[in-house]
C-alpha cells in the first residue's frame, strides 16, 4: 500500500504528472461524471420482449397477426401435440425487480384451452407451456398451474373471453406469479433457469388472444406491486440494528473530510444539546486529529473556489501548500486553471479567457486524460449562450465543487500521518456506499444477473416522489 514516503514522492515529483500517483486524476473523472453521458444508469438497458416470434412458432396451427401481437388458433385440435404456441421475440429481461406481461382473451374459442407462462429457448413448440420440463403455465380452461412432466396443481380461477391475464417473474423472491384482471392469483417457485421466454398458447378452434408487452397500460398495477416488493425487503432490512450513533459519526466525518467547518460546528453544538446529548467527538481519539487536519485552511480554499475566486485560491495554495501547485502539469493545476478559464467565460471576459486558455490550458491539449476536458472548456467560447450549450455543465456549481474537492483531497494528502491515500479521496460515507453498491452488483452477477441493482439515485429520488 501507499505510505507517506510515496505520497511525498508523488507530490514532489514534477516530471511525471500523469503517473498513477497523481491523486488529482481521480477528479478528472468526476468532472466528466458531470456530463450527461457520464451518468451511469448503464445497467438497466437490457432488451425486452416487444412482439411475438413468428419464426419459431407452431406454424400451421395458429395465425399471428401482422402487428405480431395477436394469435388465433385456426385449426381443429385433435391431440396433445398440435398446440398453437408462440414465444416472445426476446427473453424476459433479468436485471430488474420484476418482469411482467399480459394477455387479453378476445375469444375463448371452442374449449378455452389458453395458457400463459414462461418457457426456455428449446421448448417444443407443439405443447402447452407447463406440459414439458423447463416450462410453466397458467391454463384458462381449468385454472391449474402446470410445471413440467405432468406436474399440475390447483392454482387460481379459470379464465375466458374478456379476461386479462398476466404472468410475471419476481426476481427478488425467485417466483413466477400470475394475475387475472389486475389481481394477483398466486405465485410459485421459479425452479427453472433462464433465459425464459414469455409464452402463450391456444389450442381450440377460434381461440384468439392479444398480448401486451407493456406497449399499452397493464390491467395490473405493476408499479404498486414493485413498491410493495421493495417495501418487503426494506422491512427485513429495517429490523437490523445499527451501532449507536453510527449515522452521526458518519455525517460528522463527512463534514470533516470536505472541510465543511461551519456545518460541523453547528452540528456538534446541536448534538450536545439534544436529549440525551450525543457525544461523538472524543470517542474517535487519534483518528479525529487526522481528519481535523487543516480544517480551517480547507474551508477557506473551498469558499474561494465556490465563489469562483480561483486566483485567490491559487495564491493561498502556493502560500500554504506550495508542493500541491508545484507541478504545473498536475491534474490539480489543470482543474484550477480550467476553472479559472470557465469563470472568465461566465463573466463574459472572452478575450481574457482566450489569452488565459492559450497560456494555461494549451499545454494540456495533447495529454491523454485532459484533452476532452480542454476541448469542452474551449468549446464554451463557441456559444453565444454557453449555459444552454452541450458543454453548459461546466458552468454549473457542481464543477466548482469538484475543483474544491480536488484541492481538499490534495491538502489532506499532505498530512504526514495519512495512512491510506484512498482515505483522502473518499470520505467514509462514500466508501460505505461503494461497498454497498459493489456487494449488490457482485451478488447479482453470482445470481445469473437476476434482480435490480442498488442505485443511490433511485433511493434519493424516492424522497421526491413521496413529496407529491
Amino acid at each position: 500500500m501507499n505510505n507517506h514516503s510515496n505520497i511525498s514522492n508523488s507530490l514532489n515529483n514534477t516530471t511525471t504528472s500523469t503517473s498513477p500517483q497523481d491523486l488529482g486524476l481521480h477528479f478528472l473523472e468526476m468532472a466528466r461524471l458531470g456530463l450527461p453521458r457520464g451518468l451511469c444508469d448503464m445497467d438497466e438497458d437490457e432488451d425486452s420482449p416487444t412482439e411475438l416470434n413468428t419464426i419459431n412458432s407452431s406454424g400451421g396451427f395458429l395465425l399471428v397477426t401482422p402487428d405480431k401481437l395477436s394469435v388465433k388458433y385456426t385449426n381443429v385440435n385433435l391431440h396433445g401435440h398440435d398446440v398453437g404456441v408462440v414465444q416472445a421475440n426476446k427473453p424476459a429481461p433479468v436485471k430488474r425487480l420484476v418482469y411482467y406481461f399480459e394477455i387479453h382473451v378476445k375469444d375463448a374459442g371452442a374449449k378455452g384451452q389458453i395458457a400463459i407462462g414462461f418457457t426456455t429457448e428449446s421448448f417444443k413448440m407443439r405443447r402447452q407451456p407447463g406440459w414439458e420440463p423447463n416450462s410453466c403455465g397458467y391454463h384458462g380452461d381449468d385454472g391449474l398451474l402446470y410445471r413440467g412432466l405432468g406436474k399440475k396443481e390447483p392454482f387460481g380461477p379459470t379464465y375466458t373471453s374478456g379476461d386479462t391475464v398476466g404472468a410475471g417473474i419476481n426476481y427478488a423472491s425467485q417466483e413466477f406469479f400470475f394475475t387475472k384482471n389486475g389481481i394477483v392469483v398466486g405465485a410459485v417457485e421459479k425452479d427453472m433457469k433462464g433465459p425464459l421466454f414469455p409464452t402463450i398458447a391456444v389450442h381450440s378452434q377460434n381461440e384468439e388472444v392479444q398480448v401486451n408487452f407493456g406497449q399499452k397500460p397493464f390491467a395490473f398495477d405493476l408499479k404498486l406491486f414493485e413498491a410493495q416488493e421493495r417495501m418487503k425487503q426494506q422491512t427485513t432490512i429495517e429490523k437490523l440494528s445499527l451501532p449507536s450513533n453510527v449515522s452521526y459519526r458518519i455525517v460528522r466525518s463527512y463534514l470533516q473530510h470536505y472541510g465543511y467547518e461551519d456545518t460541523l460546528s453547528a452540528f456538534d453544538m446541536a448534538c450536545k444539546s439534544t436529549v440525551p446529548p450525543i457525544y461523538i467527538a472524543q470517542e474517535n481519539g487519534f483518528d479525529e486529529q487526522d481528519i481535523m487536519y487543516a480544517l480551517n485552511q480547507r474551508k477557506t480554499l473551498r469558499q474561494l473556489i465556490r465563489k469562483g475566486e480561483i486566483d485567490a485560491a491559487l495564491g493561498k495554495l502556493s502560500e500554504w501548500y506550495p508542493q500541491i501547485v508545484q507541478d504545473e502539469k498536475s491534474a490539480t493545476c489543470f482543474l484550477l486553471h480550467c476553472q479559472k478559464f470557465i469563470e472568465l467565460v461566465r463573466v463574459g471576459a472572452l478575450e481574457e479567457a482566450v489569452k488565459y486558455g492559450r497560456n494555461q490550458l494549451g499545454k494540456f491539449y495533447g495529454l491523454p486524460g485532459f484533452q476532452d476536458l480542454v476541448q469542452d472548456s474551449v468549446a464554451l467560447l463557441a456559444y453565444e449562450q454557453p449555459q444552454e450549450s452541450p458543454v453548459g455543465y461546466l458552468l454549473e456549481d457542481t464543477q466548482r465543487e469538484i475543483v474544491a474537492d480536488t484541492v481538499n483531497a490534495m491538502v489532506l494528502s499532505t498530512n504526514p500521518n495519512v495512512k491510506n491515500l484512498q482515505g483522502c479521496l473518499h470520505p467514509y460515507l462514500e466508501q460505505l456506499l461503494r461497498q454497498l453498491t459493489a456487494c449488490c452488483l457482485v451478488r447479482r452477477s453470482l445470481n445469473g444477473d437476476q434482480g435490480e441493482a442498488f442505485q443511490l439515485h433511485r433511493v434519493l429520488n424516492s424522497i421526491k416522489k413521496s413529496k407529491c
Binding site: 412432466l149 429495517e238 449515522s247 456545518t263 453544538m269 446541536a270 469558499q303 470520505p427 467514509y428 456487494c439
Partner: protein
C-alpha cells in the same frame, strides 16, 4: 433424460454450490469498488436529508451555504417541529399540544393514537410532579372516554394510573413510564407525525442505507468470500478469511 438423472444432477449442482464459495481477493474487490461512481451531489443530498429529518436546523442552514445542497423542505418548518419535540422532551406536554395545533390542527385530529399518547404523557408528568388530584381528574375526564373507544388505549391508561398505587414508584412494575425514554418515545412519535404531515419521510435515509449495507454484505457472504466492512464508523475494509 430420466427423472433419476435429473435429480442426481441437481443434487450434484447443489453440492458444488454449497462447497465452492467464490473467493474475491482484496485487489479484485478494490477494483470493483473503484468502478462504482458515487456522485458528490448525491452524498450531499443524503447528508442534507439527515440534518433536516433529525432537525439540525442550524447545521442544515450552514450546510446549504457551504455545500450548495438544497434542503428538501423549508428550513423554517424544522424550527417549529423541533420546538414541539423539545417541549415533550422537557415534559411540557400541554405546550407541545398547543404548538402542534398551531402548526397544523389536522395532525392530532387525524392521529387519535398520537393524541392519546400525548395525553398519557401529560398524565405521567402530573403524577411525576405529585399532583395526584389533578392527575385523577385529568384521567377521568380526558383519558377514560378515549379508553372506552379503544381497548389498547384502555390498557395503557390502566397501566399509567397504576403509578398512583405505589408510594415508591422507583421500584414499581410500571416505573418505565417515568423514565426519560418514555418522553423520548412520545417526542419522536410527534416528530414523525409532523414530518408525515409535511409529506416528508419520518426517518432519514442514511441509517436505512447503512442497514442495507449490513444486509447486502450478509447476503453476499452466502455466495462469496470478499473484503468486508465490519466497522461502519471507520469504513475499514477487512480481508476475507482464507
Amino acid at each position: 433424460m430420466s427423472l433419476f438423472w435429473i435429480v442426481i444432477r441437481q443434487f450434484a449442482e447443489n453440492e458444488a454450490m454449497a462447497t465452492s464459495k467464490k473467493v474475491i481477493t482484496r485487489e479484485e474487490w478494490e477494483k470493483k469498488l473503484n468502478d462504482v461512481k458515487i456522485r458528490k451531489e448525491d452524498m450531499n443530498k443524503l447528508v442534507m436529508n439527515f440534518l433536516v429529518t433529525e432537525g439540525y436546523v442550524d447545521a442544515a442552514e450552514k450546510f446549504r451555504m457551504e455545500s450548495g445542497a438544497e434542503p428538501e423542505i423549508d428550513l423554517a418548518t424544522i424550527t417549529d417541529r423541533m420546538a414541539v419535540k423539545k417541549a415533550v422532551q422537557c415534559g411540557n406536554v400541554e405546550d407541545a399540544i398547543e404548538k402542534v395545533n398551531d402548526l397544523n390542527p389536522e395532525i392530532l385530529d387525524t392521529n387519535p393514537q398520537l393524541f392519546f399518547h400525548l395525553q398519557q404523557q401529560r398524565l405521567i408528568e402530573l403524577i411525576r410532579n405529585g399532583k395526584v388530584e389533578e392527575a385523577l381528574e385529568f384521567a377521568q375526564e380526558e383519558l377514560a372516554p378515549r379508553g372506552e373507544e379503544n381497548q389498547s388505549f384502555l390498557e395503557e391508561l390502566e397501566r399509567t394510573v397504576a403509578l398512583l398505587a405505589f408510594e415508591d414508584v422507583s421500584n414499581c412494575p410500571v416505573r418505565d413510564l417515568l423514565d426519560i425514554s418514555q418522553r423520548l418515545k412520545t417526542a419522536s412519535e410527534v416528530n414523525a407525525a409532523i414530518l408525515t404531515s409535511q409529506s416528508h419521510e419520518k426517518d432519514p435515509k442514511l441509517p436505512s442505507l447503512l442497514k442495507m449495507l449490513m444486509w447486502a454484505q450478509d447476503q453476499l457472504d452466502e455466495k462469496a468470500a470478499y473484503p468486508r466492512i465490519n466497522d461502519l464508523s471507520t469504513a475499514m475494509l477487512e480481508d476475507p478469511p482464507v
